[in-house]
Symmetry: C2
Subunit: 299 residues, 2 copies
């Protein structure tokens, strides 16, 4: 492992511990309306995951000169949205996946109806929790709600998933693929970084733009690497059957650019991400490490 | 029609015009990520509906001495949550309903996957929109996000829907039925009233409690009347097949209390609702009229 990747792995581990502790605490409720529903929510949120989005949120808070501690609730809110999106994406009517992170998906474990509701309730929880993040001033909390809602909704993640559904069996098209990913996964990654940066309300616009550019490049890089892993990865490591995108006839970067072309594109995105952080001091080292990690990860 | 019901019908018509104009404007987007997704969202939000929740929100703003105009965005946000919940409740994995308001349900018209996403995106939109309701001060907007999130999530509406799923084929139980309704429909009706009242940040706690009590009674009354309509109503008026709850072996108030018992219970709830408004002046007349309307409505 190179030193950058090593630093990212330690940082991710640290973020995972912090966010999991808070998520565990917030998802404990002795008297839920439905124990089964809460159990399904806990199953999907607390059942592992790399916590890349929370790490980006905490890393961006540090890079922006904000308070990483105050970024912990927004980091968890983003993770709740991510968890809800995985539940819904895996549903039979969507991607129909039975395996996620090496375990049965939520609808396999709890049934479709409970899975739909668990996703719905996780989304509500994300916004409710964010609205009560008392370490942040009211204006900042509101900006974060606005940001997270836009990233999740029809102009963000949900919109991207809709494009994804529509793209099955369509002729492959690089522009459409890019638009899909910018919405489906890019928007939430961008929101993670921007919400972290918002913990410094005095951050100058130019720096916010730099971080946004970093996040956009990283979001796409993440997806290109995902596509490469889908055709090259090991099922036991990536936690889902290899080739599942190809089998569904979904367009991928390697299919459109070739494996070498996709690798070169990935390198270019890494450079863009790192270049965006030029104006930042050592406090952006974790974001730099995260960029290297994303393109080097094996799952 | 009695004068109270007549006033409520005029008020509802007025609210419907105001909220529909704003909803229409906000759901217009020349460049959505997916036209089909936006179309599905518009289909479900703009396809009719009595707009009872927006009316309660606007009515409560007036009763509380707030500004009804500033309650318009919160009123629409509640309606977006309501619309999303109807889409998801109608899904094959949930209630499997093909007809709603006399039209094909969203998943019949657009397919299951798009329907799930439309619901998801409407929920995001509700919170995003509320966070930018500039007629309200930041603290009020945050309190509304907190309120709406709690009412929608696992301790509110989604929790109630989970109880509902679990209650199918269970032995009938009045306590469970009441708990289910207090969550499934009651929580959002309560939030509608409370969010309207929050438009007066100086409202005294006692008055807020009165309005909350009003909303709780009204929410249950709404449900008891729904159950009565299910066995007595006319399909062409209620917009769904009569007896559909009974056919699914779901518990209902008439099944547990008899039709006369349910009617008497409904009258008691109406009295509680009206009694809760004793300390309010003529500005609560619309809420009074709404209570009479809910128990007298034929659809």
């Amino acid at each position: 492992m190179n030193p950058q990747t090593d630093q990212a792995v330690r940082f991710l581990e640290d973020c995972r511990r912090q966010t999991d502790a808070l998520l565990e605490q917030k998802l404990a409720d002795a008297r839920p309306a439905s124990s089964r529903l809460l159990e399904a929510m806990r199953y999907s949120v607390l059942g592992g995951g790399k916590r890349i989005r929370p790490a980006l949120c905490l890393g961006a808070a540090e890079a922006a000169g904000g308070d990483p501690l105050s970024a912990l609730v927004p980091a968890c809110a983003v993770e709740l949205i991510h968890a809800y999106s995985l539940i819904h994406d895996d549903l039979p009517a969507m991607d129909d996946d039975g395996l996620r992170r090496g375990r049965p998906t939520t609808h396999i474990a709890f049934g479709e109806a409970t899975a739909i509701l668990a996703g719905d309730a996780l989304q509500s929880l994300a916004f409710g929790w964010l609205s009560r993040a008392l370490a942040l001033d009211p204006e900042t909390r509101l900006s974060m709600v606005t940001e997270l809602a836009a990233a999740s909704g029809y102009q963000g993640m949900a919109g991207g998933q809709a494009i994804d559904l529509e793209s099955v069996d369509q002729p492959p098209d690089l522009n459409l693929l890019e638009t899909m990913h910018r919405h489906k996964t890019g928007a939430l990654i961008e929101a993670s970084v921007r919400m972290g940066a918002m913990t410094n309300p005095g951050l100058d616009d130019r720096r916010m733009q730099d971080l946004t550019r970093y996040a956009k490049a990283l979001g796409l890089a993440f997806q290109v690497q995902d596509d490469l892993l889908d055709i090259e990865g090991d099922t036991s490591v990536i936690g889902k059957p290899r080739g599942s995108d190809l089998a569904r006839n979904k367009p991928t970067y390697p299919a459109l650019m070739g494996v070498d072309g996709a690798r070169a594109y990935l390198d270019g995105l890494l450079n863009t991400a790192l270049d965006s952080l030029k104006g930042f001091d050592h406090r952006a080292d974790k974001l730099r490490a995260m960029a290297s990690f994303v393109v080097a990860r094996d799952h």
